[in-house]
Symmetry: C2
Subunit: 271 residues, 2 copies
């Protein structure tokens, strides 16, 4: 049974002096604990559902795994009575203990070097991620339709107005997968985790669309999955543009109302 993504809460609506009591559907937010071989690795606030994809996509984005084949098993943590914990999963990697320690150490080093300045963190990531050099192209007219297609695919957003979405499309604009989450980065991790499970990486012939803004973190995750074209409904940050330039991603913003702005590697967009 898929976990519930929304719950109904009573609220009072003030509108032009009137007060109505309404039943309002809200997006569910709960913490997910991700363990690595039984040891706590990270905790993220997320909307329940597709937790295994979230864990797999997160591990890929953070550089802990490079392929689906490195995951042995992702299982629910169970309590003493054998009941599965809905908010805790354990990832078993096909990596010897020494190798795992090495990966943890490497990741720590990368995140340490992040602290100094944006430039250093970009260098850390570009050392780890191969530049995206695919010649995949997308027609501007196709791109323009994707924000509407993403919105149409958002089940929970329609109900709550409260969730971010990430959609993966092929270069003809056909939807491959879409995920919704209270956290934009979680929605991206879920889509990447899905693709990882499907053995589709690197995602050289795809375009990824995210609702809201594009931050450094979102570009980092798209780059780790090999996505050549990343578009957002709202604005990118300056660091998102710098990282996209460096890793070879075509970055698009303000994709809405029949218009978009393109920041980097624009040769992939054709008239």
């Amino acid at each position: 049974m898929a976990p519930s993504k929304t719950s109904v809460h009573e609220s009072l609506k003030w509108h032009q002096g009137r007060i109505d009591q309404i039943d309002e559907t809200l997006a569910i937010e709960e913490p997910l604990e991700i363990r690595l071989a039984g040891r706590r690795f990270t905790l993220t606030m997320r909307t329940p559902g597709h937790d295994e994809e979230l864990a797999a996509g997160f591990l890929l984005a953070e550089g802990f795994i490079a392929a689906a084949s490195e995951i042995d098993e992702i299982r629910r943590v169970r309590d003493a009575r054998g009941q599965a914990d809905p908010n805790s999963i354990d990832v078993i990697l096909k990596v010897p203990a020494d190798g795992l320690r090495e990966r943890l150490k490497r990741n720590f080093t990368i995140s340490s070097s992040c602290g100094v300045c944006g430039k250093t963190s970009i260098e850390g990531i570009t050392r780890r991620i191969a530049p995206i050099k695919t010649r995949s192209k997308i027609a501007a007219s196709t791109l323009l339709e994707l924000a509407t297609k993403l919105r149409a695919s958002q089940e929970v957003f329609a109900a709550t107005g409260g969730l971010h979405a990430c959609g993966l499309f092929d270069l003809e604009g056909t939807l491959m997968a879409t995920r919704e989450d209270i956290g934009r980065h979680n929605a991206v991790d879920k889509v990447v985790g899905w693709a990882l499970n499907q053995k589709m990486l690197p995602l050289s012939k795809t375009v990824m669309i995210v609702s809201g803004r594009t931050s450094f973190e979102i570009v980092q995750k798209a780059a780790a999955a090999g996505v050549p074209i990343l578009a957002a409904v709202s604005a990118p940050s300056s660091l998102a543009v710098q990282l996209a330039q460096q890793v070879g991603i075509t970055l698009v913003g303000f994709l809405r109302d029949g218009s978009f702005n393109a920041y980097t590697h624009r040769a992939r967009i054709t008239r």
Copy 2:
């Protein structure tokens, strides 16, 4: 000199078949390393500016400090040549080393208990945070004006469309402080850090407005600062509503277009 919050990037704008080259102003995003007595404590992606407030507000929200008087000094980290690092600050607390270790341990325990389920994390936080019992009230008509006032105060948003904002108002709707950041939680930390420096905590006679959605984390930060009324331009998550109920916060959502929805402790809103 205040750090720059925006930078100009060249972009191509596709609109109704036309392509224009434009100079676009984007919000700057850079990592900030926060150290505790020289030791790395956390790293957050933020928009530069008000870094000392960000650090102070973050430490308060996480339960490391309870008052401004516990901070001895917040200083820039300097390199071997004495140059200040724009993205790294060091917080010296007026707490003996033993006490600091105890706080780190306590915080770790709280974040561990978070992993199990939303209910447990709410219990962890409500154990730490005193319930908000102030009888402060705000008129619905005053509340309705605040989203517009917040937007009017957002300098960088107007330029970029890319930043979140947090505003603190008194109960008559007068703006006390506003901060913008690429991260909504950072904007809240900066406002709380400002109030902490002003020795205004607990913020019993204020209303806090945030752009975008309300998550668990935002309610947690408002509760730590003693804010009785928290309103957002967009939807709350279900866990945000549960935590607000528990800690005694009046939670308001969809504050826009002359309307709002109220979820918890509604007696503080008067006609």
